[in-house]
Symmetry: D2
Subunit: 364 residues, 4 copies
Amino acid sequence: MPGSTFGQTFRITTAGESHGTGYVVIIDGVPAGMPLSVDDLQPDLDRRRPAQSKVTTQRKERDEPEILSGVYEGQTTGTPVAIVIRNKDVRSKDYADIKDKYRPGHADYTFDAKYGFRDYRGGGRSSARETSVRVAAGAVAKKLLASLHGIHIVGYVKQIGELKTEVFDPAAVTLEQVEANIVRCPDPQVAEQMIALIERVRGQQDSIGGVAEIVATGVPPGWGEPIFDKLKADLGKAMFSLPAVLGVEYGAGFRVATTRGSENNDVFVAQHQSIMTETNRHGGMLGGISSGMPIVLRCAVKPTSSLPLEQRTVTRDGEPTMIRTKGRHDPCLLPRFVPMAEAMMAIVLADHCLRGRAARMREE
Amino acid sequence: MPGSTFGQTFRITTAGESHGTGYVVIIDGVPAGMPLSVDDLQPDLDRRRPAQSKVTTQRKERDEPEILSGVYEGQTTGTPVAIVIRNKDVRSKDYADIKDKYRPGHADYTFDAKYGFRDYRGGGRSSARETSVRVAAGAVAKKLLASLHGIHIVGYVKQIGELKTEVFDPAAVTLEQVEANIVRCPDPQVAEQMIALIERVRGQQDSIGGVAEIVATGVPPGWGEPIFDKLKADLGKAMFSLPAVLGVEYGAGFRVATTRGSENNDVFVAQHQSIMTETNRHGGMLGGISSGMPIVLRCAVKPTSSLPLEQRTVTRDGEPTMIRTKGRHDPCLLPRFVPMAEAMMAIVLADHCLRGRAARMREE
Amino acid sequence: MPGSTFGQTFRITTAGESHGTGYVVIIDGVPAGMPLSVDDLQPDLDRRRPAQSKVTTQRKERDEPEILSGVYEGQTTGTPVAIVIRNKDVRSKDYADIKDKYRPGHADYTFDAKYGFRDYRGGGRSSARETSVRVAAGAVAKKLLASLHGIHIVGYVKQIGELKTEVFDPAAVTLEQVEANIVRCPDPQVAEQMIALIERVRGQQDSIGGVAEIVATGVPPGWGEPIFDKLKADLGKAMFSLPAVLGVEYGAGFRVATTRGSENNDVFVAQHQSIMTETNRHGGMLGGISSGMPIVLRCAVKPTSSLPLEQRTVTRDGEPTMIRTKGRHDPCLLPRFVPMAEAMMAIVLADHCLRGRAARMREE
Amino acid sequence: MPGSTFGQTFRITTAGESHGTGYVVIIDGVPAGMPLSVDDLQPDLDRRRPAQSKVTTQRKERDEPEILSGVYEGQTTGTPVAIVIRNKDVRSKDYADIKDKYRPGHADYTFDAKYGFRDYRGGGRSSARETSVRVAAGAVAKKLLASLHGIHIVGYVKQIGELKTEVFDPAAVTLEQVEANIVRCPDPQVAEQMIALIERVRGQQDSIGGVAEIVATGVPPGWGEPIFDKLKADLGKAMFSLPAVLGVEYGAGFRVATTRGSENNDVFVAQHQSIMTETNRHGGMLGGISSGMPIVLRCAVKPTSSLPLEQRTVTRDGEPTMIRTKGRHDPCLLPRFVPMAEAMMAIVLADHCLRGRAARMREE
């Protein structure tokens, strides 16, 4: 079974390659009666697009979405919403170099191993440009979640290299704070240092990794399925489906390795007629089902594999050679990763929002 | 859509609760012609079962599997393999305590929020006992992978509390080394310290977390699907579907946050007619597709939530109260987590092994 | 992908073979809070079982279901309901005959072609005995539909050989009328003739085909999905998944070939505050979505392939030979087909009942 | 779960409405390395398009497909093939009439019941124009089947009104014979009568139904899954997912009701080293798995519901009114139905072709 579809009830399917004609996503399962237009999609697409600032790649392409179907008189009809984004800044450059050489850290070799050959232009199907249509679908999911439950999803850069911010309350970070600087770190002082670090790394023809934190507030308790489709499992899959992610953790995350149960357990309390926990080391899910507390997760994102620096590698035939990636690459993926991860979180939550409607004999 | 099914081509569906009649798993998609008997299942079930040593819970129950279908004259027939494990040591104890109180760190509250009520006996569907049938299915998957590709999957405990071992070559750890001690740490000296630590923690009526590392060797390059069903995404989902997992990372994992691209990229080289990488910071997958290098992942497992220590919580009605879990719980989940995680890795790999057969016009 | 799972939101997975240990079905997606016990399953199982009357096979086996999971204190919990039915009357007879010979009309040859070999005892996985667990799952679905919407599903035999009944109003046939005779034809006079015909055919060591009609009343308008998962498409798949079905038709069915649009269209009218059609040639679905009118379909069921009469065939090696099926077979499949088809209709409707909850922004 | 996706391993997802911007299909699972271009799609699209002859609607629109992705240097890459067809002849006519009135035989009322409102222009999502992208996907499937197995799929009109042809050997009908006349009946004499009948019916402002027969030759034995995903079940679902289909039958079909087992069973014989049946009353599938004999099925297609004749109906508010469909409709759907049904058969067979690769331990 092929793997271009994600989700069960709010379900997306994508197609497209970096240097082909364009990308398309079909979102099946958007309920009827939600206002929707391209204006809902553009802001997040602009947050994801290249060349948005001096810390990203300078490849110029504004992603302009076209809604092909599923919307009538400004409202979703219940039938699938298809969104097309055409490729524009497709340089007819010479790809002979990567045609026969395997770029370290990229999927060139693994695609060849799988399919026997590949569309090597700009990475083809493995290009991160595929996330453009995921971000568009994520904007639809965000609108659904906000309309139905007042849910808000905000992501931000928490760490780049050794520079790290400790936001005291992840659930209080606002989109405005995040968008106040080009590196998307809500801590203005650390943000400035991060920007300086990225510029230094770029000057060294190198790249650098980091960590992003994504938070959803307003998710009601009871979302997620008990066994395989735990909310944490589906979110984990969603995050790992993004390029360059090598680690995902919730709440206390890897720190749980060194803690005792008596320290780690979050105590239940009753406040304002509802049950919650005093602390949120569990990251908003217990038994894989939402607890009503903010959902908090972090992704480790590796340094960009494409480097202007010369690197050793081999050709398709196994001959040792050198490779150097000319041109336009992000010295750090994190700033543009934030909207991608928000989108995937929104898609998972929209799916479980609708799936959860079948849990009881009668809907409340 | 409910969530008791996992996998596409090698597909498992489980049912059962901790204190009900028993558990069942249906494994659909086992190819015809593989020798199979209960003897293939018992060893891993014994590695998972409670009361296997002084560092685990003392709840006594040996899981005895019955193969209900799908095997004829000692061979799989291509039709679904159903395996039943009946519950035995089901104590008719008084559950009044947890019936009305929410245990911290457990799914009691979230199940109530989802379904309106719950089978509270021993955690019901959220009990880790459900992993018994996953381990049985994993044993089938392991046999398939070993038969077809000589793939071996070995997991072990890497860290408990502050005690950590650095295995120099994860791919060289053997099942014998792991099983040589009750804590399943292949480093005998660290293992001894870990056992002492767990006993100390148990004496304090507390519990402790840790990290397990799971490794698959022999996976050919080219497994996994490019976008959503990346091997790392499906493995991530599989691991997060296990109870108590709060973090998953591959290869260099969260350390990538502090590294440069020039350090992190693994260099391709040709050896013995095949292409590989000199190092394995990528954890065996590039673009989400296997590279032929060992697949290496780590899971952060939280300290057991059930504690003999008294903890604060609330009742269903929100009244503050105290709770204390009598009895039989693991002071540290890690030793028994190892076979569960191996099983889930095997199930994912078996699935992609079969899925990959459709990638090209003609099979090789 | 294997094919032992059916449905999306109300989803069943079956395993088991005719002469193995037994059968199991896992029903995932039964909403929490529905009363359920084995007493709900037994009546339909008894309607399906062999040896229920002189017009069926005399193979004696009463199907006694065990609910393994998903029910607590007499109510469904929202977690999967597993039902096991063990095989009992498994005669250790000599199967050498069918081991090497291909029975005409059976799946012996096609299973060998698919898997390379087969469990030939009693047809193995291809035995109609697999429908026992479907009937059990169907009983759960029927209860769900009756509880939530007052939906009732009744099937009956409409034709055997040339004997045919014209029920004037399919929606008015009751279970009592159907169960009033052993052939399950609600027309008592035709029923008597049918019984005589079946006995005559049996005396000739032959078998005979027929047509069953299945009707659901009370289905609200709006169930089904517009394109591939039309209600008529999912019902069609469900019916064709039953053994021996060679034709399925809705409403006017094949008669539409000879009618004009002006005759065939059903006119909309308003009655008692609701919109309906004057006639029901469309069979209760328009555009594949339920119209609120009774859902009416018919299945053509072939004569039993197993015959006491000697038939020509070949061995596995292609050698011409003769075959004769000793013993216990239904001279006509129709009376026992009725509960199977009702079950599959119930499963499809339960699935779409729950799926439909996601169609609009807010549930009504 | 929404219903715009069909198939498991060769999997299509469609979006689009009659009077929106256009249609798109994403075909996921096309194996790498198959030559493909728009020239492969155009012939079947032209067979499906309106205004192709005097017996079809005169609405003028040539479907011009654009391949958006999945093809590189003239070959499929293994990644999803997206095909876009834009709407052109979208008349901005006054739809006030059908906005508030329910057209008999159409999905207007059922869509309103499901979603609360609908895109009423030209039927919106329920328009048969959606089959254009299915036909494009079917052309890809046909090419796959022909390349890998030499399979050919041919459909034709067997009956219109009382006019019926008895093709002696369905497996011998050629595409050339079918395309030799505008009604797509391979019997030239009956074809002429059918054309005259359709013109007469059109003159009466009426429409007429019929039966199409679809045949696949060259399908190897062993395709299809034993229980729910029987080949006959998936083909049945595929056919019933097409608009206006009220009946589907295989091989002997509904005639089995009146036959004896001794007449109906097809005898196995060995010819040219392979096993086959002397006759093909079983329609090419036994136990739902292909037998190697031609797959033969028939669909009953109702007369077009849209009529120039005035018909009674009600408004959304239940007020009695009259409706008359102006303009461009097919007086008989059959000639254009043929390529739609061929496409769906091809998609099902391509899916099972790839699914079947997982049936055994090692591929042959």
